[in-house]
């Protein structure tokens, strides 16, 4: 199962300077795929997730073009070849 993660600019440095990371794992859900991403690049986890295992409130995770907030959260299914984008939400001041 290959999943391609697309990372925003502020996180590139924590993934070896890359904008995309391909993870090959047995993941069936986006949560499992993210766990495989953390295994490959542990520093990413603390920026995307809170310590209690939730996606940070101002971060969005999309599988394809759909936000996982509306498709089952971290239990959203991913299929082979899926593209998962991690994006900052429109927020701030």
């Amino acid at each position: 199962m290959r999943v391609t993660f697309v990372l925003p600019g502020p996180l590139h440095a924590l993934a070896g300077g890359r904008a995309e990371v391909v993870v090959d794992s047995a993941a069936a859900t986006v949560g499992q795929a993210l766990a495989a991403l953390w295994d490959a690049h542990p520093a990413l986890r603390g920026r995307v997730m809170t310590e209690d295992g939730r996606v940070r409130p101002h971060v969005n995770v999309f599988v394809g073009h759909r936000s996982v907030r509306f498709t089952g959260g971290l239990d959203t299914a991913v299929s082979d070849g899926a593209e998962v984008a991690i994006l900052p939400a429109v927020s701030g001041g």
Binding site: P10, A43, G46, R47, T50, E51, V59
Partner: protein, 390 residues
């Protein structure tokens, strides 16, 4: 594209670390403090509530806690005055999974004078983290986190924050912290156990104005030469203790308001303290539109306004709890920043003031350091997280 300027301090220079809601700025001057150059903004777009300088054991290390709305808060350090910063991945401050808590904000960074490897940071939700390797790794202080009061601490207007960390200057077993709203807590056994140290400090926003805990303490300061004497700016109330917090006396005599946030102590005179009174919790601006720093030189028996060079008309300014500080030069420089983005400096203990900057983002913290030793040098001292280009 943000133009980030760098500074190159030499030994003996004064550096101001100014954390704002949109980044960190550095200001450098020689010891005369007549001409200042600006560096930064570092971490543009990030709120920086806490900064510190670690000059122990030959280090020249800046610490900052940039906070992203999106990506959270991390501790980052620089051995070259901001040209490069550690990413903070190894040094990130994280609650253990079993606590069910997640870090909201880093409010305070402090080191122990008697142990150059030990550092602390106070965070929101209120907790204390410790590092025994000069900031390379951090762990939660379980003694305070497991205190039976903790589940009943309530957030103040700024959140439930541990904002003040006062290690005893000579006894590694002793330390005080302040929490809003929780009060002042002290340990005498190196952090294993904690007890309240705010007897006499009132909480006039509660039915019982002298509860066991729940005081909204805004800032506490003390002088390293006399650690049992402390001064406290409360959410209504100015206090002094002579017994390390066992009892506090109200010392708000001669101030236009005893509400405020900021407090700083003179580096060489333990009887001299600076505050910036605000009108009220319902109107957190300086009284009468006059920007006045108040100074006591007699241990808070009396307070005098310092106004020379500060606007005395239509100045609806607010100075937050960590936005007032002193340097350690003989003629004690005093510095503060405002929520309207002004930065003021006095080279003579508050006698005269001038604006160093206007138009900064809202100022959250100001710290001053006199660069020591032989000037900046990377890689000295105990290992820390590696530096990377920002």
């Amino acid at each position: 594209m943000v133009d980030i300027r760098n500074i190159s301090p030499r030994a003996g220079d004064v550096v101001l670390m100014v954390g704002t809601s949109k980044g960190a700025f550095l200001f450098r001057s020689s010891a005369t403090r007549t001409t200042w150059e600006r560096g930064g903004p570092h971490f543009p777009g990030h709120a920086v509530y806490a900064m510190a300088y670690d000059g122990r054991a030959g280090r020249h290390c800046l610490w900052a806690a940039p906070e992203s709305t999106h990506w959270g808060s991390v501790m980052r350090s620089s051995d070259d005055f901001g040209r490069t910063w550690s990413e903070g991945e190894e040094g990130n401050v994280r609650f253990p999974a079993d606590t069910g808590k997640s870090l909201q904000r880093i409010w305070q960074i402090a080191g122990r004078d008697d142990d150059p490897s030990t550092m602390y940071c106070g965070v929101e939700p209120a907790a204390l983290f410790e590092s025994r390797d000069a900031g390379a790794t951090w762990s939660l202080n379980r003694g305070l986190f497991d205190h039976p009061h903790r589940p009943r601490w309530e957030p103040g207007g700024g959140g439930l924050c541990l904002h003040t960390v006062l290690p005893h200057p000579a006894d590694p077993r002793k330390m005080h912290v302040a929490i809003s709203t929780g009060g002042v807590y002290r340990t005498d056994d190196g952090g294993r156990s904690w007890r309240t140290a705010h007897q006499g400090v009132r909480a006039q926003f509660l039915p019982d104005p002298h509860p066991e805990f729940g005081q909204c303490v805004h800032k506490v300061v003390r002088h390293r030469d006399r650690p049992d004497v402390m001064f406290l700016q409360n959410h209504w109330g100015l206090y002094r203790t002579d017994d390390a917090g066992e009892s506090w006396k109200d010392v708000a005599t001669g101030v236009p308001s005893d509400f405020g946030f900021a407090m700083a102590i003179h580096p060489h005179d333990p009887e001299t303290v600076f505050i910036v009174p605000l009108e009220a919790d319902t109107f957190r601006c300086v009284p009468e539109g006059r920007l006045r720093v108040y100074r006591t030189e007699d241990g808070a028996r009396s307070w005098q306004p310092l106004t020379r060079g500060l606007p005395q008309k239509d100045a609806f300014e607010t100075v937050l709890r960590d936005a007032l500080c002193t340097d350690t030069l003989p003629g004690a420089g005093v510095y503060f920043g405002t929520r309207s983005g002004k930065l003021f400096a006095s080279p003579d203990g508050g006698g005269r003031w001038r604006a160093l900057a206007e138009g900064l983002p809202p100022v959250l913290c100001v710290r001053a350091v006199v660069v020591g030793g032989s000037g900046p040098a990377a890689g000295r001292g105990t290992a820390r997280p590696r530096a990377r280009k920002p």
